[in-house]
């Protein structure tokens, strides 16, 4: 009993430690959730459909692409394919995260993958890199607030969509790039960081200009990852460990 209480107390504090780290993500994604809801209704979604899309897909960029294409009356299968393409980067995250959460029960893992987003993966990976365990309570604390706020704010955005003030003056459209840059810089002590970032930056810009969005994400990422694979292992620092 006592041991259970202690372990429960630890999960609780782990949850709140994760929740504290989720706050920048909640703040950064709030304007996008509201914007998504407003745009979704504008493109012919009902409030319920905007709510469902946020609750079931939970991937901001892909949802934006989805409603944009829906508004343009693009074929449904092509909309689904585009959502898949924007989210394809999750395959890479998932492969990385799998190494960190393999000790969880299967159902917890299934839920863990459902709420995995760019910042969720990055923060969990940073924790694992610092030598700490990625526990389920901590991970849920990190992800659940983001999910709950995202879904509620999407619905609110759909309801009050037309009341959004001047989004440009509020810098809303550029908050996520700032946040993502912060995450990229947080990884700068990793082996091969500079060449990987340079390769991905150049490849994604070229792809953005030629193939177009959303493929620049997958193509740019692949360029950086391939460079890390191709360079001799002694540069990447992974062969050194016993």
């Amino acid at each position: 009993m006592a041991a259970e209480a202690i372990s429960e107390g630890r999960s609780g504090s782990d949850f709140w430690a994760g929740a504290r780290l989720s706050m920048p993500v909640v703040v950064a994604s709030a304007p996008f959730a509201i914007l998504f809801g407003a745009l979704a209704v504008d493109n012919g979604f009902s409030v319920l459909e905007a709510f469902l899309m946020s609750a079931l897909i939970f991937g901001g960029a892909s949802q934006m692409v989805g409603i944009e294409l829906f508004g343009q009356h693009v074929a449904p299968w092509l909309i689904v394919l585009s959502i898949f393409a924007v989210n394809f980067r999750h395959v890479l995250y998932s492969a990385g995260l799998g190494r960190r959460i393999a000790h969880w029960p299967v159902l917890q893992q299934a839920l863990g993958y459902f709420i995995m987003t760019d910042p969720q993966y990055a923060v969990a990976e940073a924790r694992a890199q610092s030598g700490q365990t990625v526990g389920f309570a901590w991970y849920l604390g990190l992800g659940l607030p983001v999910y709950v706020f995202w879904v509620i704010e999407s619905a609110l955005g759909a309801v009050f969509g037309k009341l959004i003030p001047d989004t440009h003056a509020l810098g809303i459209d550029f908050l996520l790039p700032i946040y993502f840059l912060g995450l990229v810089l947080g990884f700068r002590k990793r082996p091969l960081w500079a060449p990987v970032v340079a390769a991905s930056a150049i490849a994604s810009i070229i792809a953005y200009r030629t193939v177009g969005s959303p493929w620049h994400v997958s193509i740019g990422a692949l360029a950086g990852v391939l460079l890390a694979v191709i360079l001799p292992p002694h540069h990447s620092g992974v062969g050194k460990r016993p």
Binding site: P24, V27, F45, S46, L52, M53, L56, I57, F58, G59, S62, P76, I79, V80, I83, F84, N87, F88, R89, H90, V91, L92, Y93, S94, A95, G96, L97, G98, R99, A110, Y113, D118, A122, A169, G171, F174, P177, I178, Y179, F180, L181, G182, V184, L185, F187, R190, L192, V196, A201, S204, I205, Y208, S213, G220, A221, A223, A228, P233, S236, V238
Partner: protein, 98 residues
């Protein structure tokens, strides 16, 4: 069921497949080759870079200032400090240069 609902459901399934897919494929291998591990280690920086880099193409003075301050704060501060500093500079700069 409406077309919209089908799109949402199929999009949700496709998205969940990307979220479990990498794990399901990679976990089939017992040991991870050093080169694969180097590749996996490069994933977060590589992907997140692609979400920032193309933004530079249409970034104006306000956006550049915000990114520069974010980078500067990263030398000392944590993620929240970086984000708040960058966002503050952006909002402030846009009042002047739009």
């Amino acid at each position: 069921m409406s077309t919209t609902l089908w799109i949402i459901l199929a999009g949700a399934v496709a998205t969940y497949l990307t979220r479990v897919g990498g794990h399901l494929i990679i976990s089939r291998f017992e040991t991870v080759h050093p080169r694969v591990e180097a590749g996996l280690n490069a994933v977060p920086a590589a992907v997140l870079t692609t979400l920032v880099a193309p933004e530079l193409l249409h970034a104006g003075p306000a956006e550049w200032a915000a990114l520069a301050v974010t980078a500067l704060v990263s030398l000392r501060g944590g993620l929240m400090a970086m984000f708040l500093a960058g966002a503050a500079v952006l909002i402030l700069a846009r009042q002047f240069v739009g």
